[in-house]
């Protein structure tokens, strides 16, 4: 039934921290039915809205583990997901609520239930993303593994099958410099 139940909950955190994203797919499938049904029943929204909330919730769960905000579970994965989801759906209505705790779902802080916001505008972020695609692999993958997934140098070295961590470090530096160059080129093109 729940495949992840057999997995120690801490193991989930270890796996994600070491770059295993497949376990995230497992978690998505395992809690999907219950979560979406619960959202619809309690907060009267459409199935599509509920799916959006769920995907957002899983993303927040993922990034919280990567960033270290979530380093151990005091309850269960399910409870955590529900807590994030509850907060998200309330936000959707753009009001601040006092919930009566009719359920045992814990309350999480704003910080724990939001994605990190970037100070740049969407268009700037998209531009950098475009340059990243132009840069291509191996840089594209390496930079994402390092800056987004926050994998360690040894982990990236193993994953990308490089000689050693120094090689990886060197490559990473070169990649960032190349990205900057492409970005400069692309943004001057537009003027």
């Amino acid at each position: 039934q729940l495949r992840v139940k057999l997995l120690d909950e801490q193991a989930v955190i270890q796996k994600i921290r070491s770059g295993d994203n497949e376990v995230l797919s497992q978690i998505y499938e395992d809690h999907r039915q219950e979560f979406i049904a619960w959202i619809i029943k309690n907060y009267a929204c459409t199935v599509d809205q509920a799916k959006d909330v769920y995907q957002n919730t899983i993303l927040i769960f993922y990034e919280n583990i990567i960033s270290g905000k979530l380093s151990q579970f005091s309850s269960s994965i399910k409870t955590y997901l529900f807590a994030v989801g509850k907060n998200k759906i309330m936000e959707h209505k753009k009001k601040s609520y006092r919930f009566s705790s009719q359920d045992e779902i814990p309350e999480l802080s704003q910080d724990e239930t939001s994605l990190e916001r970037f100070s740049e505008h969407e268009t700037e972020l998209e531009m950098v993303e475009k340059c990243l695609h132009l840069l291509g692999d191996p840089c594209k993958t390496l930079l994402k593994l390092y800056y987004y997934q926050k994998l360690s140098m040894p982990a990236i070295t193993e994953r990308l099958e490089y000689k050693n961590a120094d090689t990886t470090k060197n490559l990473k530096y070169k990649c960032i410099q190349r990205l900057k160059k492409i970005y400069e080129a692309e943004t001057t093109k537009q003027h």
Binding site: N21, L24, S25, Y28, E29, R32, Q33, I36, A37, I40, K41, N42, Y43, A44, C45, T46, V47, Q49, A50, K51, Q55, I58, L59, Y62, E63, M90, H92, K93, K94, K95, Y97, R98, Q102, L115, E116, F118, S119, E120, E124, L125, E126, M127, V128, E129, C131, L132, L143, K144, Y147, Y148, Q149, Y173, I176, Q177, L179, K180, Y183
Partner: protein, 266 residues
């Protein structure tokens, strides 16, 4: 110094800068290191530029990584079977609106189909009623579902009757409790009960009261039901006004529905 050596040294300095900037951006500098860094930012505008540039790159990379995961989840979702909306397991045999969600959707669709056939023949006086019937679904979100039925508690009695669809029974009970201790939650359900028995004006009164209580969470729902109440009462202008309030709120759950109804009124 050979050119190559010089280049290597430059690269090393540059590389060290980047590592330092990364640490700063992630908040990993110690207090004194950070102070030194910030002083350098003030004194050295070129350095400041490279920090901003680095921040842009890092944010963009994170944004790209995030989109990868979001796409992965969306793709996964698309391969999965439809979600089942299940019955709640309840201690008492309470016929709650478990299937009402789907039942109402199906009924609503059927009615929309049928009524659209009649719309050609009917005058506009009928349209509001058809629209109302097509779009109204009684709310059943947060009724108390206690395992023990306390039939001596009027509120519980009222909620119980409402959950069973016995609106004629529920209404006087709600009215009585409200006359003593009005709460928005009770008004919300009374409003729904009135709507279910066709009393649009009375329903509107209740939802207006609920909307004045900003602490009550179901504002979007109350706004929607208010619009439907006016529709039921045949007051198209007020219905339109309230629907427009919803369509102006892009975050409302009823945004799409309100738009549909508005299009059909105009």
């Amino acid at each position: 110094m050979k050119r190559r050596q010089l280049n290597n040294i430059k690269m090393n300095i540059e590389e060290q800068n980047i590592v330092l900037i990364e640490k700063y951006l992630e908040g990993n500098l110690g207090a004194s290191e950070r102070e030194a860094f910030e002083k350098r930012l003030e004194d050295d505008p070129e350095f400041g530029q490279s920090v901003v540039q680095m921040e842009n790159m890092v944010s963009g990379i994170k944004h790209a990584g995030r989109k990868d995961i979001a796409k992965k989840l969306a793709d996964l979702e698309a391969t999965l079977p439809e979600v089942e909306l299940e019955e709640t397991s309840n201690v008492i045999e309470l016929k709650q609106s478990r299937y009402r969600y789907w039942g109402a959707i199906a009924a609503g669709l059927a009615l929309v189909l049928i009524s659209s056939l009649f719309l050609l023949n009917y005058n506009s006086g009928q349209t509001e009623q058809d629209l109302f019937t097509a779009y109204y679904e009684p709310y059943s979100g947060d009724l108390s579902r206690s395992g023990e039925e306390d039939l001596f508690d009027k509120t519980k009695k009222a909620e119980y009757a409402y959950a069973l669809g016995q609106y004629a029974v529920a209404i006087p009970l709600f009215e009585e409790v409200i006359s003593q201790e009005p709460t928005s939650k009770l008004r919300f359900y009374l409003g729904n009960a009135y709507l279910s028995t066709g009393e649009g004006s009375k329903a509107a009164q209740q939802f207006e009261a609920v909307l004045r209580d900003i602490d009550y969470p179901l504002q979007d729902q109350a706004q929607w039901y208010l619009a439907l109440s006016y529709l039921k009462a045949g007051n198209v202008d007020m219905a339109r006004t309230n629907l427009e309030i919803i369509t102006e709120n892009s975050g409302s759950f009823y945004h799409q529905k309100a738009k549909e109804v508005l299009d059909r009124i105009k």
